[in-house]
Every structure is written in structure tokens, then in C-alpha cells.
Amino acid sequence: MSDASPTPAELEAFRSEVRAWLAENAPEGIRGLPSSIEGQGNWGGRRATYDPPEMKDWLDRMAEKGWTAPIWPTGYGGGGLSKAMALVLAQEIAREKLPPALLGFGLEMIGPTILQFGTEEQKRDHLPKITRGEIRWCQGYSEPDSGSDLASLQTRAVRDGDDFIVNGTKVWTSYGDQADWIFCLVRTDPAAKKQEGITFLLIDMETPGISVRPIQLISGKSPFCETIFDDVRVPVKNAVSEIDAGWTVAKALLGFERAMIADAFGASRGGGKKKKEGQGSQLVQLARQYGFGNGGALTDGVLRDEIAALEMDERAFHLTVQRSRDAAKAGHRPGPESSLFKVYATELNKDRHELSVRIAGAQGLGWDGPGYDDDEIALTRAWLRSRGNSIEGGTSEIQLNIIAKRVLGLPD
């Protein structure tokens, strides 16, 4: 990332450059394709399929410009842009209704972590492959007995010459069945204090001894897997940072993960592209569709109040995100407000889904079969899936602990 902030004139010049390049290079067939952090969109990797095939052209052209990882250094496949320029790029891509060329944990989580902590060799080995969408990553953090108390993890890595021998089980490895590499927390010193004996390891999923089993959620199918390591041999040079010093790396990556989740639930949208409110809003339309009146005030005053309250909470949240961004643009250090993004965004998303199901009433209960259309089934499943939002990436309770300790300075 370049340090100097660009002038408004430079930003506008860059905007023109981006527009011209997009006009030349964005394939027509991909315009309007959906994209999100769960499932849809292009995640790359050895097993990636490109539908429509132009998606691959879009990826290759963007990667060649370094624009799949716009703020990473150019030497590792990035674009070397400032954050302000990267924002312009994202705005122009959104304006043209183009999907992101590439998504995933490589760009959002392990890439920034390797940039911060990795050796030169690790940066050269891994970062360019991430930016080109050649390697897809998954996360090996949680274990069956280690959820919120992550540092209690038990997966063992025992030194054997230039290798570690890894044994143990990781859960919630999202897309573990489609990933090429996994970044893993392993215990290298069982005698040390629990945070001090952990090492951060990069492991090729094709190594013998690794098996992956999908996990079914209460909402039906899911991207989550269980990943089992049975005498898996991993070169010692695949450790990121020092051996036994992986906890610091792990926490930094959790910060990147929280930011990614908050973004996925609207923290990147700011005041500009918020959800539609009022007459055109999804909740009001749902209420009209399910019998609460075709015009004017909704016929159920309590429901109307709940919809207004949720819309207002969402607006207040987006204004807070905007405030944080405006402060950053004005050169202020990040304020305490950013610590609330993950917990509040995910709690709001749960509230929205719950309210949607209640508005749909009996039509919000379908699992399958006759009497329910696709939208109704999706509504129900999305509600069930949303219950996990305040668990994954650090539970809301853990987020509140972090705020109490780091922002409010309350004692342990």
C-alpha cells in the first residue's frame, strides 16, 4: 500500500482510468451476477469452476492488474494502491454491477497475515497464487473441545527432523472440502502456558493423512467441514512467525476475520449503499405481501413499530460505520466505535431474519415440498443460518468481553 494519501484530483484521475479500463476489460456476461461471502461468487482454487466461463477472463485480467488484492504490494501480485484508491476501484466495480473478481479467505485472512508476519519466501510462495485465484485457503482454528476458549486447542505437532507430525481434529473449516491449503493452529509445546505453546502452520491439503467431512447445519447444507489430521507431515519452514509464538499471529488473523464478517453484514456499505428503508424496503414489502395492508400504515401497529425500530437500528449502525470511515479519511486514528461492528452487525442480521419469518407467519415455516415457493424456503433457511452469525468468528459474548477489556478498560 502506498503511504501518501492521494489528492482529490489524483483520485478523480484514477477513477477515469478505472472506468476506461473496465469498459475495455470487463466481460459483458458477468454483469449483475450475485456475490457474497457465503457460497456465491468466485473463490478460485484448483477445483474452481467458472460459470459463466467469462468469470475466468474477469479474474485473469483483474489479477494481471494486481486489482484482486488492490492494496497489497505489487511485488506479491497486489496493486500497490492506497486505501482511498482501492475504495474508488470497488465503487466503480459496484457501479458497473460487476461481481468481485475473487473472494475468499486467502485475500481476506491469510494474505494480510502472511504480509504482516511471513518470511520473504512465504510471501513469494503464497501471495501471488492467492491474488491469481490459483490456491484456495481454509481456516483450521476451532476444535471439538475448543470454541470460544480457542487457546485450549489440542491438535498436536511433534517435531521430527525438518518436519512436524500433526495429529488432531479441526471443526468449522469452512469450505474445507474445496480448499487447497489450510492455515492451522497447532500445539507445539504442551508443557507451556496454553497461549505460549501454539504454532501457526500452513498445510497443503493434498498431504497424505488429511480427511475432510462436511457438517450439516440446522439450516440444511452448509459450507462447514470437519478436518482430521492423522500423522500428517508438514515442513517446519511452513510455520508463520516463530515456533510456539503462533498466538500473536492467530489474534491478528482474528482481527482480519472480524473485519471481513462485519463487512459482509454491511460495515463496508457506510451511509451510501444501505438497505432500502420505508415503502421500498424488504420488510415492508413482506408485510404487505403477507396481509398487513396494501397501502398506508401497516395494519398491525406492533409489527409496524418493530419494523421501524429495526430499520432505525440499521441506519444508526451504517451511520456509525460512516463516522468511522470519515474520521479515518480526516486522518484520525481508529476510534473505539469500530469495536462494535462485528457484534452489532451480526445481532442486527439475526433480528432482521427473525422478523422476516414472523411476518411470513405460517408461510415462513416451510422446509421443503408443496405450498411454499423458493423465496419462502430460502427465507426460513436464511433465518436458521443467521443464528450462527453471532457464534462464528467469535461469539457476541466474546466480542462484548473484548470491548469491556480493551475499550472500557474493565479489569479481568
Binding site: G271, E277, G278, Q279, S281, V284, A287, G296, A297, L298, R304, D305, I307, A308, A309, E311, M312, D313, R315, A316, F317, L319, T320, Q322, R323, D326, A327, K329, A330, H332, P336, E337, L340, V343, Y344, E397, L400, N401, I403, A404, K405, V407, L408, G409, L410, P411, D412
Partner: protein, 380 residues
């Protein structure tokens, strides 16, 4: 809209914060209460605030004002809110002053607002009635045309600083049914006008509020503010500005109450440890922190939206007041609860924050009134 303070605004905030810590500790509110002060505030300090230029912030330079926006006024009011300063910004600068500024004739503005900006004249707005709740269009007070003048009859409640005011702007009906939008007129009624009876009320926050009786109070045509029957739209604009000012004050008060509570959580020991180490309290404190941050964003957005005539300004005003109403009560309730027994004593200051929070919550529309308004503005 930029949700960040400019350098000038930061400077203003610093000046106001320093002034509050030097001149306006919360103990002043207790002293005014215990002395049964007829005004409920200090005229000397009000004069100082005028000299500092704060009273004149939202008035034009031609009247001696600073011609700045609500965003600037909000910065000052937030700091004053930290000290629970009871001086008459809401009544004189925002309600009465803005009504005169928006609807007054050249002569009326000159007669009254120069004195207001100088800190010499005080105003009030008599709008609310026993039957009106927070609705601005529900006006039962009548103004009957009699020759060239009007005779006002009716009752107004909770008239902020009504007993101290040199003139009260009275909202009365010249025409139409009690809940009609048309037919509402504003009258400028100087203190001491025959037929105007003003009684100081005592409320939980000990600030000045008055019960106003109008019994055939005769006002000449030169006492009409703006067009006859056209008062409602003026009133709506005035109340939006006043609401944002009130929200800024509430933001300051809740921030202060929370910071005092955090200190207490760190210092109070039970079972051999600071009570702030208990997770049940940590999570509630973190939740309060989140609510205050959301309030801050909403208040900043509403002030800027009004200053910039943003088409969404009305909705953002309701967002700010709904949030601050709920937020202020949550913070104040938690503040008393977390202080435990000492928080219930009159000797401790945290109770003053609870009392002011409740009054502010129920002034210019509570949370549910503003959610209803939001839904209405949004078309559902």
C-alpha cells in the same frame, strides 16, 4: 455529509468542555434546586455564555449572531449536557428563538432577537397541552378574532422556562377542529400581558417549566408571528431544530453518566475484587457503550442533515431522538443500578442524571412517537 468534527468544531468543544469543568459542575444543579431558585438556572452564567458567543450560534450576523449551524451548537450543548447545565438554550435559543427567526417580521426579530443574542432577553414556546401528547397539530387553545386583535383562551403545560421568559410564543388555534393541521397560529405574548397567568412548575429535573393559563388574553395583530393559520409548518421546523439540540445535550449527559459508572465499576470492591471484573456487569457496560456510539452517529447525522437541508433530515431527526430517548434511559437506569445503594441516595450525583434523562426522554417526542413518525415519513 461528513460525520467528523471540523477543526473549528473541535476547538469549540474544547472551549466548552473547559468552561463546564470550571463553571458548571453538577453540584450547581443541586444548589439551584435546594435554593428553590425561581429561574432554575443562573442568569450570570447565561450572560457569560452569550459573551462567549454560544447563545448567538444559530442567529444571523445582522442580529449579532455567529450564523453557524446546529452542528456547532450541538458541540456546545453536548458539553453543557455533561454538567447537566440548566441554562435556557432549549427554550430561548431553539424553541422561542427559532420560531421568531423563522416566522417573525423584521421588526419582531429586531425587537427580540438582538436582546436574546446578547443574553438579555429570554423566550419560551407554549405548545404542549394536557390532551396533545407530543403531536404538534393537536391544539385546543383558541384565539378568537375580536376587532383588530385576538383573545387567547386555554391552557399550556410544561412550558420550558416559561416563568423566566420575557415573552412566550403561544400556539393557538384561529380556526378549525382541535386536531386540524390548518388554522394554527403563533402569538408573541410578552410577560405581564393581562390574561396571561404563568405558574412555575416543579419537576423531577428541577429545571424551569411552567403551567400557562390564558384567560381572554388580548393580543394585537402586531403580536401574530407569521401568517394567520400557517403556524404548523413553522412549528414543525422549530421543533426539529430543538430536538437535535436536546439530543446533543442528552448525548453529553449519557456519556458523562456512563464514564462515572465505569469509574465506579473499577473502584468499587465486593467479594475482594472490583465489581467491574464481573462478566454480568461487563457485558451490560459494553452494551451501553454500543448504544452511546450509535446515539453519537445519529445526532451528528441529524444536525448535519438539517444544516445541509438534506431531504432525509426529518427522518434523521426522529432517528436521533428515538435513539437518544431509549439510550438516555438505558444508560441512566444502568448507572443507578451499577452504583447500587449509593446510587439511590440524594447525596450522590448519579441520580441527577436519571432525573434529567427521564425529562429529556419525554420532551419533544419519546422513542415510540419518533418511531411512529419515521414509519409515517417512510410511507408505512
Amino acid at each position: 455529509m461528513q460525520l467528523v468534527l471540523t477543526e473549528d468544531q473541535e476547538l469549540l468543544a474544547k472551549t466548552a468542555a473547559d468552561w463546564v469543568s470550571e463553571h458548571s459542575p453538577v453540584s450547581r444543579v443541586r444548589a439551584l434546586r435546594d435554593a428553590k431558585d425561581p429561574d432554575g438556572f443562573s442568569r450570570d452564567l447565561w450572560k457569560q455564555m452569550a459573551e462567549l458567543g454560544w447563545v448567538g450560534i444559530p442567529f444571523p450576523e445582522t442580529l449579532g449572531g455567529a450564523e453557524m449551524g446546529l452542528s456547532e451548537l450541538a458541540v456546545v450543548l453536548e458539553e453543557l449536557g455533561r454538567g447537566l447545565a440548566p441554562e435556557p438554550f432549549l427554550s430561548t435559543v431553539l424553541l422561542g428563538g427559532q420560531a421568531l427567526l423563522l416566522a417573525g417580521s423584521e421588526a419582531q426579530r429586531k425587537d427580540w432577537l438582538e436582546g436574546v443574542v446578547a443574553g438579555e432577553k429570554l423566550l419560551a414556546l407554549a405548545q404542549q397541552e394536557r390532551g396533545s401528547r407530543f403531536d404538534l397539530h393537536r391544539v385546543a387553545t383558541r384565539a378568537a378574532a375580536a376587532g383588530g386583535s385576538y383573545r387567547l383562551s386555554g391552557e399550556k403545560i410544561a412550558v420550558l422556562d416559561g416563568a423566566a421568559a420575557d415573552a412566550i410564543i403561544v400556539v393557538a388555534r384561529t380556526d378549525g377542529a382541535e386536531d386540524a393541521s390548518e388554522g394554527i397560529t403563533l402569538f408573541l405574548v410578552p410577560a405581564g400581558t393581562p390574561g396571561l397567568r404563568v405558574e412555575r412548575q416543579t419537576r423531577v429535573d428541577s429545571r424551569g417549566a411552567a403551567l400557562v393559563q390564558l384567560e381572554g388574553c388580548e393580543i394585537g395583530a402586531d403580536g401574530v408571528l407569521g401568517g394567520v393559520g400557517e403556524g404548523l409548518s413553522v412549528l414543525e421546523t422549530v421543533c426539529e431544530r430543538a430536538t437535535v439540540g436536546l439530543c446533543a445535550e442528552m448525548l453529553g449527559s449519557m456519556s458523562e453518566a456512563f464514564e462515572r459508572t465505569l469509574e465506579y465499576l473499577k473502584q468499587r470492591t465486593q467479594f475482594g475484587v472490583p465489581i467491574g471484573s464481573f462478566q454480568a456487569l461487563k457485558h451490560r457496560a459494553a452494551d451501553v457503550f454500543i448504544q452511546i456510539e450509535l446515539c453519537r452517529s445519529s445526532v451528528m447525522a441529524a444536525a448535519r442533515a438539517l444544516d445541509e437541508a438534506d431531504p432525509e433530515a426529518s427522518k434523521l431527526v426522529s432517528l436521533a431522538k428515538a435513539r437518544c430517548s431509549d439510550g438516555a434511559i438505558q444508560v441512566a437506569n444502568e448507572a443507578v443500578q451499577m452504583h447500587g445503594g449509593i446510587g439511590m441516595t440524594d447525596e450522590h450525583e448519579i441520580g441527577f442524571f436519571l432525573k434529567r434523562a427521564r425529562v429529556a426522554e419525554l420532551t419533544l417526542g419519546d422513542a415510540s412517537w419518533h418511531r411512529d413518525r419515521w414509519a409515517r415519513l417512510a410511507g408505512y
